[in-house]
């Protein structure tokens, strides 16, 4: 009886919270051609295409979009590039038809119950070329109350991070597509491996990427693989818990690990408890993906700093 009453109150509170916080959120994304720069030894500047919240600029990955469960999100996508593009938020939208050059389209997403999570948006056209050129990003959905739990009643966290891993094949894809040529998509030998659009030398010092916190805190790390290769991420310092895999909430006790493998276009949410003082790397365990054109550690890597 007591349990019944409690859960009824819980439901009422959850209902109230979702009503209270429901909002309409508007975003505009501009598609354009530009470039991406990987800094440091082995780095380069190469052609890239991207979604950006600022017309005339290219961002790889595209801007982090955020909303709460219960919100209505309107995303206006403006194609300022000279070829067709689209916008698909995996698991949320289904319209994959093209937006012609100069055109635009509005995508409306009603974030229903149990929609809290991490979503990969990307351009699904042109045999992966558009995505490879940098057209991807993340929509982060928090629970209805906007609080720091992975979902309503889910694992709590102190702070979260979004990690977008991807690769680019500069000579065979970016140089060719960027010059308007025809990419031989049968051959893909990426030589740049990116963490949030950066080489490791930058990503290890990027405050939006590093897990940098105090002992006793818990980080929620939202990982998406926007690339075309599987990526195997190895955490030093502590084991993580896999709380969500490809949008599916796991149940406690959660799988623990120090390596998580993300196939192309997959997503995962892991919690990482900051348990001991020190500085630790997080890096891919797949040889070449640790490099920028062969230069060690300027690939998919960042730092875990526990203070």
């Amino acid at each position: 009886m007591k349990r019944l009453v409690q859960s009824t109150i819980g439901l009422l509170l959850a209902g109230l919270a979702s009503i209270a916080s429901a909002a309409t959120v508007n975003y505009t994304l501009y598609i354009s051609a530009g470039s991406i720069t990987v800094n440091g030894t082995g780095g380069t500047t190469m052609s890239a295409w991207g979604y950006s919240d600022v017309a005339g600029t290219t961002k790889v990955p595209g801007p982090l979009l955020t909303a709460n469960e219960g919100d209505t999100v309107n995303i206006t996508v403006v194609n300022n590039h000279n070829i067709n593009h689209n916008f698909v938020a995996q698991g949320l939208t289904t319209d994959a038809t093209a937006i012609a050059p100069g055109g635009n389209k509005v995508y409306t997403i009603n974030l229903g119950s149990n929609s809290a999570g991490t979503y990969l948006y990307s351009d699904t056209l042109n045999s992966n070329i558009n995505r490879e050129m940098g057209m991807y990003g993340v929509l982060k959905v928090k629970p209805a109350d906007g609080g720091n739990t992975a979902w309503t009643g889910g694992p709590a966290y102190t702070f979260d991070r979004v990690w977008v891993v991807s690769e680019m094949d500069k000579p065979r894809w970016n140089d060719v597509a960027g010059a308007g040529g025809t990419v031989n998509t049968g051959v893909y030998k990426p030589n740049y491996f990116l963490m949030n659009g950066k080489g490791g030398f930058d990503a290890m010092h990027d405050a939006a990427t590093t897990v940098d916190g105090l002992l006793g805190q818990t980080a929620l790390i939202r990982i998406v693989n926007a690339g075309q290769q599987s990526s195997s991420l190895h955490f030093h310092g502590n084991h993580f818990k896999v709380i969500k895999s490809n949008g599916v909430a796991q149940s406690a006790p959660y799988l623990e690990g120090d390596v998580i493998n993300l196939p192309p276009m997959s997503t995962a949410e892991v919690t990482y408890y900051l348990n001991q003082l020190g500085d630790y790397p997080m890096h891919v365990h797949t040889a070449q993906q640790e490099t920028a054109n062969g230069v060690y550690l300027n690939g998919v890597a960042t730092m875990i700093i526990m203070k």
């Binding site: 599987s230 084991h239 623990e256 196939p263 001991q276 020190g278 070449q288 062969g294 060690y296």
Partner: protein
């Protein structure tokens, strides 16, 4: 490779251990040293590839091992208050190495959540001229790990600088148990390490920040250092009995995708049960016939041999990172 020859011998050993309990009930310190030595291996196509392997034999003329020697640390039951401590020393004398900035070597206890000073990462301060690395596993940390060099890993792992490290259950008397975890359901009669690795010979000759390291084209696909390209020439063999429990420790140090399975001579997949992942027991063991093992991951699995004699082939199909197409399969063999 560790065999438990038969159940009765195990029973005798544990009976002896039980008798010795009062005197032996103390934690152990495991002091082990490894050196780095070259090793020239002739591959199946006749080509020779130079590796750098760890070895416990630090004589000047010794040869590296692929993979390196087994490191085992005891893990005691929860609540016992007992722990073993591993001190793994890297002796750098006469070690083959690269030029600066990737000179020297370290040891990273992969999967052991040790202090930064024990982590073996040069970029966070680890010396590359030799050191002792310490790990004291907790009661929930039974399972498979590995140790490997953490200098210029894109090359040094490829060169063969890795070995299996096991957090193996011990009873409170300090005797190793033939189990994967402290759950008696994980008891085995036989156990083998399946160390997964791949070899791109170009990575063995390239050095420094070469563009070679941007493009991985593995040519050889190994289980525990051997190719095992056919069931007739397996990488590793085990002579087991019928109706026995066989445990395999899958340790992934490869750089492509890998899928593990156990098949009979006709290619029928046999179920096995996964008990641990990355040195942590699964909340619920999972029985399956195919398991993806990705670079850096470890799984501990168990299967029971049938009641009639025969042969099964535990195997790893290495797969392309982009589309998962099969590159090659390496076979092991278990007869019973």
């Amino acid at each position: 490779m560790k065999f438990v020859k038969n159940a009765s011998k195990t029973a005798i050993l544990s009976a002896i251990a039980t008798l010795g309990l009062a005197a032996a009930a103390q934690a152990a310190t495991i002091n082990q040293s490894v050196c780095v030595r070259s090793l020239n291996k002739t591959m199946s196509d006749g080509a020779s590839v130079t590796f750098w392997g760890f070895t416990s034999n630090c004589g000047g003329m010794s040869s590296g091992l692929l993979p390196g020697p087994l490191v085992e640390v005891g893990v005691y039951p929860a609540g016992s208050g007992l722990t073993d401590t591993l001190n793994l020393t890297l002796n750098m004398a006469m070690a083959p190495q690269e030029q600066a900035p990737y000179n020297g070597h370290t040891i990273h206890l992969h999967g052991a959540d040790v202090a930064t000073a024990e982590d073996g990462v040069p970029e966070t301060g680890a010396p590359v001229t030799g050191d002792t690395y310490t790990w004291t596993p907790k009661s929930n940390e039974t399972g498979s790990y590995m140790y490997h060099c953490h200098v210029h890993t894109v090359k040094h792992l490829e060169m063969g600088m890795y070995g299996p490290m096991i957090g193996r259950p011990k009873n409170t008397a300090g005797v190793f148990l033939n189990q994967l975890t402290h759950d008696a359901a994980t008891a085995y009669n036989y156990v083998q390490n399946y160390v997964l690795s791949t070899v791109d010979p170009a990575y063995h000759t390239a050095t420094g920040d070469s563009t070679v390291f941007a493009d991985y084209n593995p040519k050889y696909f190994l289980i525990s250092g051997n190719e095992g390209k056919t069931t007739a020439a397996p990488a590793q063999t085990l002579a087991a009995g019928v109706n026995k429990k066989v445990a395999l420790r899958l340790i992934g140090i490869h750089s492509v995708n890998g899928t593990f399975s156990v098949k009979d001579a006709s290619g029928n997949a046999k179920p096995f049960t996964v008990y641990t992942h990355d040195g942590r027991a699964l909340a619920t063991p999972v029985t399956m016939t195919s398991l993806d093992v990705s670079p850096g991951q470890r799984y501990d699995i168990l299967f029971t041999t049938p009641s009639t004699t025969g042969t099964w082939y535990p195997q790893v199909t290495y797969k392309n990172l982009r589309d998962g197409t099969a590159l090659s399969t390496a076979y092991g063999r278990v007869t019973f």
